[in-house]
């Protein structure tokens, strides 16, 4: 279980100053960004023992390797203190080089698997802990060395011991990204195993979180769309994932976060979402966003909330892209979704601009074909708030302008209303921005507004629009010049 109220500094050592920690974190972030660019963004989770703290994790490499060898020798000689030795082994295996040493020892995995499947329950627990440490290794050789244990780990998923099941799940989740291991696991039936685990342990939120994590590791694979995703969609997993999306206030956000990311990976890799839509995915995700938006608007921003909001936004955004318009009302129902999105936009603009950007994207997909939702934005007086976002770059203003363009595209009456709320003067500014996409979009919106009614055209002229357009006639881009000339000649001066 991940306790969000504790910010852990895995990269740091006790004694690092705040500045050093920040630096390390920034470096780590850079590495992650590069990994994402290389499509190799993979993470593993380490489940700590309840009684220990991260600060106890020290990287003393030399002794780790020696410990492993020593402990293994002790283990080979069967005795009553096996569980103690195993505990020592798991501690030693924290060290990456010790992990390598372990797998190089003869029969080491065989021994471990034997203890994993033996009759001593305590030894089983300690053995799976050792495997969990091993699964955390960055080396692929270690991952493949763990393969002999995989069928047993899968079998134990149907067991009832929470801690044990959790460890099995996180171990499997850490091993998944390795392609060799993944193929084996798929053949050994990891998907059905996860499905029945989730179904049976739906009320055990720690296990739910673990299943979610493991599944997300599977679904993140670059070729997931080929085999894994169809398998998952055919199982009972989607409906169970949807049923646990609402976070439990006592337990925390962890399980909901993992399941939401699973659904995101499902929706973003395909264009055909009929299965998910039929199970009410859009409805569930959007109503959850409405309640989260409400909490955010009230100022109750729970820490880590954005980790849940982000995948939900993406699910709604991508599901919308394939939801037929006729189904929209059944799937969405509640127009408050646009209110929630505006609330999220405002709330996260300065702290998580990426979230604001994604909210704007969802708003675009909502307004692209739905007149009712466009109308809602106007009626509920949400447009001025959107216009205020037009100065902000990095994808925010272009997306917001698209939303406003969607509204304008609907009806002339909408255009008049937009003009009354200050869009004209905003466009006079956005037309001068450096971003060419902003300029083009601004021209398009301006056109729609100006041709909608003579009053709007007049108002535009009053605001100095003619000289603005004449200046635009000398824009370096031919398309822009064309548009300016067309607007002047056909609609403003004739």
């Amino acid at each position: 279980m991940w306790r969000l109220n504790k910010v852990r500094h895995k990269a740091g050592r006790p004694g690092d100053s705040v500045e050093e920690l920040k630096l390390k974190r920034r470096e780590h972030e850079k590495a992650l960004r590069q990994a994402r660019r290389d499509r190799q963004l993979v993470s593993k989770r380490l489940l700590l023992n309840d009684d220990e703290d991260q600060s106890e994790v020290t990287m003393d490499t030399n002794s780790g390797e020696q410990d492993v060898v020593a402990v293994l020798q002790k283990l080979h000689h069967s005795g009553p203190e096996r569980d103690t030795h195993l505990k020592a082994l798991s501690k030693a295996l924290r060290d990456p080089s010790a992990q390598l040493t372990f797998i190089k020892q003869e029969n080491s995995m065989h021994l471990l698997v034997g203890l994993l499947t033996g009759s001593d329950a305590t030894c089983r627990l300690q053995a799976v802990r050792c495997l969990h440490e091993l699964s955390h290794s960055p080396h692929t050789s270690v991952a493949s060395a763990c393969l002999p244990a995989s069928p047993y780990l899968l079998t134990y998923l149907s067991g009832q011991s929470t801690k044990f099941t959790e460890l099995c799940l996180y171990t499997l989740g850490n091993l998944c990204p390795d392609s060799v291991v993944k193929e084996k696991l798929l053949a050994q039936g990891i998907v059905p195993a996860l499905a029945s685990c989730l179904e049976n342990q739906r009320h055990n939120l720690a296990v739910v979180e673990a299943v979610g994590f493991t599944l997300s590791q599977l679904l993140q694979a670059n070729n997931a769309a080929e085999k894994i995703i169809p398998m998952v969609l055919a199982s009972s997993l989607p409906s169970h994932l949807l049923s646990v999306l609402t976070p439990d206030p006592k337990f925390g956000l962890g399980p909901a976060i993992e399941c939401a990311w699973c659904i995101h990976y499902l929706t973003c890799s395909m264009k055909d979402h009929r299965v998910l839509l039929a199970q009410g995915a859009l409805l569930q995700c959007s109503s959850l966003l409405v309640s989260l938006g409400g909490a955010v608007a009230e100022g109750n921003k729970e820490e880590g909330m954005e980790l849940l909001i982000c995948p939900l936004l993406r699910c709604v955004g991508n599901l919308l892209s394939s939801c037929p318009l006729t189904d929209l009302s059944a799937q969405m129902g509640d127009v408050r979704i646009v209110v929630a999105l505006c609330a999220l936009l405002q709330a996260f603009l300065h702290t998580q601009p990426a979230l604001a950007r994604e909210s704007a994207w969802v708003l675009n997909n909502l307004t692209a074909h739905s007149r009712a939702l466009c109308s809602a934005l106007l009626t509920l007086n949400l447009v001025p708030g959107l216009i205020q976002l037009l100065p902000f770059s990095q994808g925010i203003n272009t997306m917001i302008l698209r939303v406003l363009a969607n509204i304008a595209h609907n009806k002339k009456d909408f255009c008049v209303q937009l003009a009354h709320r200050g869009l004209l003067s905003a466009l006079c500014a956005t037309l001068k921005m450096a971003d060419q996409e902003m300029v083009t979009l601004s021209m398009d919106v301006l056109f729609m507004l100006v041709v909608s009614s003579p009053q709007v055209a007049e108002e535009f002229v009053k605001q100095g629009g003619l000289s603005l357009l004449e200046a635009t006639q000398y824009n370096s881009e031919g398309e822009i010049r064309q548009r300016a000339t067309h607007l002047l000649e056909h609609h403003l001066l004739s």
């Binding site: 973003c268 450096a434 067309h486």
Partner: protein
């Protein structure tokens, strides 16, 4: 409460707005926009249509969110209190062909545009600081009727607004400006035609192929090109011009980034320089192709073309 209005909207149950059913009835309709009042509006270049955007897992828009997620998985979660990402604001840019100036505020942009591009003469690409001076310039330099009339009557107006006096030659006017209005003898905006001289064009028109070439300078204000920095920077321009708290232009002196003529526009700039300075070197050439037309000057120069404009 951060956003009370939104909270109210969100908690008021189902908001009474036209239901989504309206979409089903009308379908995905677009009221025709193009045929507004005119028939056969060909070549409408506006083609915006709303688009549903599907983003796959690796899309750039998702990068920050993904990184945040993985930092969390690896126990490196950064709470809001600790991390303040920078929100960026769009820059403004002068899009006039040939000009690539960028500004961080709208005010800077406006200042740049108003200073350099607003009152540009069509024929000779000279930039004048005000509409009035542009008018006078066009009249005196490019209007053949003026040339004819000025031989018989006093046509050269005093440059000072409100003075109203007219003179038979520009030299007379210049003398008047210096003597009565205390202008410096080398006031930039009172060049005689003969002094134009050579103007170097630094940049060639960039997009010849995509631009409508106008045959006659007077005919069309179609797609045109502005040569902003095609003027050479003459040493004389560095001579200090008195800037005595002129009404609007004091700030302009600070922004002398351009290579065009730029000076203060004081009504009365006391000058102690003697009027017997060196003869002004010729500066501008007539090597502007006749098929390049630009600037608002083109409009002003052609009376009656756009009656509505102020």
């Amino acid at each position: 409460m951060l956003q009370p209005d939104l909270v109210r909207l969100l908690t008021e149950g189902h908001v009474l707005v036209k239901s989504c059913d309206e979409d089903c009835l009308t379908g995905n309709t677009q009221e025709p926009r193009q045929s507004e009042g005119e028939e056969g509006e060909e070549g409408n270049p506006f083609n915006f249509t709303p688009q549903l955007i599907h983003l796959n897992k690796d899309h750039q828009l998702f990068e920050d969110g993904d990184i945040h997620r993985h930092m969390y998985l690896q126990d490196l979660y950064i709470s809001e209190a600790e991390d303040k990402p920078t929100l960026s604001v769009s820059e403004f840019a002068c899009h006039i062909s040939g000009c690539s100036a960028i500004f961080s505020t709208l005010e800077e942009y406006e200042h740049h545009y108003n200073s350099l591009h607003r009152h540009v003469c069509c024929s000779c690409r000279r930039s004048l600081p005000s509409a009035r001076l542009l008018d006078i310039h066009i009249q005196e330099w490019h209007d053949s009727l003026f040339t004819i009339l000025s031989q018989r009557q006093d046509m050269y107006q005093c440059l000072v607004e409100g003075c109203g006096q007219k003179f038979s030659t520009s030299k007379h006017r210049k003398g008047h400006l210096i003597k009565i209005h205390k202008y410096p003898p080398d006031f930039r905006f009172d060049k005689t035609k003969k002094d134009k001289g050579n103007r170097q064009t630094k940049k060639q028109p960039q997009k010849d192929t995509t631009m409508d070439v106008v045959d006659d300078v007077c005919e069309s204000e179609g797609v045109c090109e502005v040569m902003c920095d095609g003027l050479s920077h003459q040493p004389e321009q560095e001579e200090s011009m008195e800037t005595h708290g002129s009404e609007e232009e004091a700030a302009r002196m600070a922004k002398s980034a351009s290579t065009e003529e730029h000076a203060d526009l004081n009504a009365a700039a006391p000058s102690t320089e003697s009027s017997s300075s060196d003869p002004l070197e010729p500066r501008y050439s007539y090597r502007v192709p006749t098929n390049v037309c630009f600037g608002r000057g083109s409009v002003r120069g052609f009376r009656g073309r756009r009656g509505r404009r102020k």
